[in-house]
């Protein structure tokens, strides 16, 4: 089954008088359980493609399908619901809510989903343990290192077991040890839960984990390499 399908996606930004083609007739299929890395130089279109797949940005033309449902023509509320229930996001900058503790940040999505408090707390503590943050659940983002914050963000993205995880440069602010730990966690989830991962990255180490490597340049897909299975 196809987890993600993009058909002839185009997106143009205007920067002053200049038009920049962020996505230029992009076609992409990602099967369920896929582990895909999007690789491109800066401005190559990988974040724009990730945003379009996640329903954060609407393409100028073309279609985006997630798990068999077309999303590019959805309303804001429908997109919010889709993101809430089916997609986990890991952003480059940790993007935690500063007034919430690590545990509360992890619980945030579940709380919006309406998961009962007791279940939320249990799941949040489990995943924090899984990402190596046991005992730090009561800390606020300002009291944690960059790597710890990124792991909280990852925990938040994964805690409700979404079918699709979109990660934008998830290791950009991590040391190599933390980056490896994070990628191994991704691989484990991919293998055990058939979670689909689409990761935008520059990082060669991250690319090494991918089953499939898609190279982009100037908004177009210029390479699609199938690598090893996990």
């Amino acid at each position: 089954m196809t987890a993600v399908k993009c058909i002839d996606l185009c997106k143009t930004y205007r920067q002053g008088e200049q038009e920049i083609k962020a996505l230029d007739h992009v076609d992409l299929d990602v099967e369920r359980g896929g582990f895909v890395c999007l690789s491109a130089p800066s401005g190559g279109g990988k974040t724009t493609l990730l945003n379009a797949i996640g329903g954060l940005d609407i393409p100028d033309s073309g279609q985006v399908w997630i798990a068999g449902t077309r999303i590019d023509n959805m309303s804001k509320s429908e997109l919010a619901r889709l993101r809430l229930t089916q997609i986990g996001f890991v952003f480059q900058a940790y993007n935690l809510i500063p007034v919430l503790t690590a545990k509360e940040n992890v619980e945030f999505v579940m709380q919006v989903q309406g998961v009962p408090a007791r279940d939320r707390a249990k799941l949040a503590l489990e995943i924090l343990d899984e990402v190596g943050l046991a005992g730090l659940d009561g800390r606020r983002p300002a009291e944690m290192s960059g790597g710890q914050q990124q792991r909280v963000a990852v925990a938040r993205a994964l805690v409700s077991r979404p079918a699709l995880v979109l990660a934008d440069e998830p290791t950009a602010n991590l040391d190599s040890h933390s980056a490896d730990g994070l990628m191994e966690l991704f691989v484990e989830l991919n293998r055990n839960h058939q979670t689909t991962f689409v990761i935008a990255t520059h990082d060669q180490r991250v690319m090494a984990y991918a089953k499939r490597l898609i190279k982009m340049l100037d908004g177009r897909i210029v390479g699609d390499i199938r690598q090893h299975e996990h």
């Binding site: 954060l56 940005d57 919010a80 619901r81 809430l84 996001f89 952003f91 007034v99 919430l100 919006v112």
Partner: protein
């Protein structure tokens, strides 16, 4: 939405105290504004009520009954058709707080040296002391003792104008129903003082029966004054009197007998609302500025929450709730402050330094602030409702952010 209420509440409360200095300043501004609304209203209310109470106690009672032609021609030609005895029978045991029948005619008073035009009241002192202020305002001598009292009570100022004194004789002249001169000599037995010079200069009081005999009007009167439970709500009393008395009388509330004071009461209610709104408008700039800043500082977080699937309406609710919490704290502090400052002053504030000016308006030189629950509720409701309206714009803007743009804001 209800599922998200808990997180919305948590975020609103914590974000409120994120910049606690700004929040405290805003709460202080709201508190002072609310205090000013309620305190000033209580002062104004106290002053106006004092004017009204003085006006009402200066003879009208809450409702008066006259012959329909009396207000145009206040003379013995326009007596109430029923006799005083009949009126007393109809008014007795009706549960009125107080009532009095009396004669009220123009007259001329003459001393050895001076003459003055006055309004002569023939009263039953036993009944009238509950309706008017005079019995409690005797500065020298005594008040009238019965309806047959042949003494006269007049104001201190009139005593000076007539260049006479307590115990001296004066002559009163008026008209009888046949338009003949009705006159009689009286001894001054009492001198009263009033808050208004005009009252002291123009009102004189004699025993009702003595005056009836002088005017040759038998057992008849020109006026009935009745006091009900509340001077603000006189219509039920007016209707009751109209029902129990004959059709050929005019029954009027004090608001129509003294249109100046009646208008004052209505203007005061309007003033309270305008004053409250004006203060709030000044406050609203601070409130909107605080919220705009709070939202502006959190664009990225708001984008993140939207990206993670929080619905725009929850973002709107979060900012609105933040504003509501700020207003609620300000209201609680401001209202408590107002209560704490007004209650100790309820014994009266001496403002005699501007007393002469106030007297022109019928207010006394001691101001009694009056804290009405209705005024407190009005101030609180105005702040809450207008505060919510003022918060709508920043809250709406926050909920309209596009996550992809907001999340990358630095």
């Amino acid at each position: 939405m209800t599922k998200q209420l808990q997180i919305v509440w948590t975020l609103a409360w914590r974000n409120l105290w994120r910049n606690h200095r700004r929040t405290l300043i805003m709460i202080a501004a709201v508190s002072v504004g609310v205090w000013a609304m309620i305190f000033m209203t209580a002062l104004m209310r106290g002053m106006v009520n004092d004017m009204i109470r003085s006006g009402v106690e200066n003879l009208p009672g809450h409702v008066q009954v006259h012959h329909p032609g009396f207000r145009d021609d206040p003379s013995v030609n326009n007596l109430i058709p029923a006799t005083d005895t009949e009126l007393a029978a109809r008014l007795a045991d009706r549960g009125f707080r107080a009532w009095s029948t009396r004669i009220n005619v123009p007259a001329v008073i003459t001393s050895e040296r001076e003459s003055r035009g006055v309004t002569l009241y023939g009263v039953d002192p036993a009944r009238d002391r509950d309706v008017t202020f005079v019995a409690d305002s005797i500065a020298a001598g005594r008040y009238l003792e019965s309806i047959d009292d042949d003494g006269l009570v007049l104001g201190r100022k009139l005593l000076e104008n007539l260049d006479t004194d307590l115990g001296k004789r004066v002559v009163l002249m008026s008209q009888d129903p046949d338009n003949d001169i009705a006159d009689r000599g009286f001894r001054i037995v009492g001198v009263f003082e009033a808050e208004l010079d005009n009252v002291e200069e123009t009102m004189i009081f004699g025993g009702k029966r003595t005056i009836q005999q002088m005017l040759r009007i038998g057992d008849r009167v020109t006026e009935v004054a009745v006091v009900g439970p509340d001077y603000r709500d006189v219509e039920p009393l007016r209707r009751e009197l109209a029902r129990i008395l004959d059709d050929d009388v005019e029954v009027l509330p004090w608001t129509e007998l003294n249109t100046y004071l009646g208008t004052m009461l209505r203007v005061m209610d309007g003033f309270v609302l305008v004053w409250t709104v004006v203060i709030f408008l000044a406050l609203s700039f601070g409130l909107v500025n605080t919220l705009v800043m709070a939202v502006f500082e959190r664009v990225r977080e708001i984008g993140l929450m939207l990206a993670l699937g929080m619905r725009p309406v929850s973002i709107l609710a979060q900012v609105m709730l933040e504003s509501l919490l700020l207003l609620a704290i300000g209201l609680a502090v401001g209202t408590s402050l107002a209560w704490a400052t007004i209650v100790p002053l309820e014994a009266g504030i001496d403002i005699s330094i501007v007393g002469e000016g106030l007297e022109m308006f019928g207010a006394s030189s001691v101001l009694y602030p009056e804290l009405l629950l209705a005024d407190v509720l009005l101030a609180d409701a105005v702040v809450l409702i207008l505060g919510i309206l003022a918060s709508l714009s920043p809250a709406w803007r926050a909920s309209r952010y596009r996550p992809v743009e907001a999340i990358t804001k630095v």
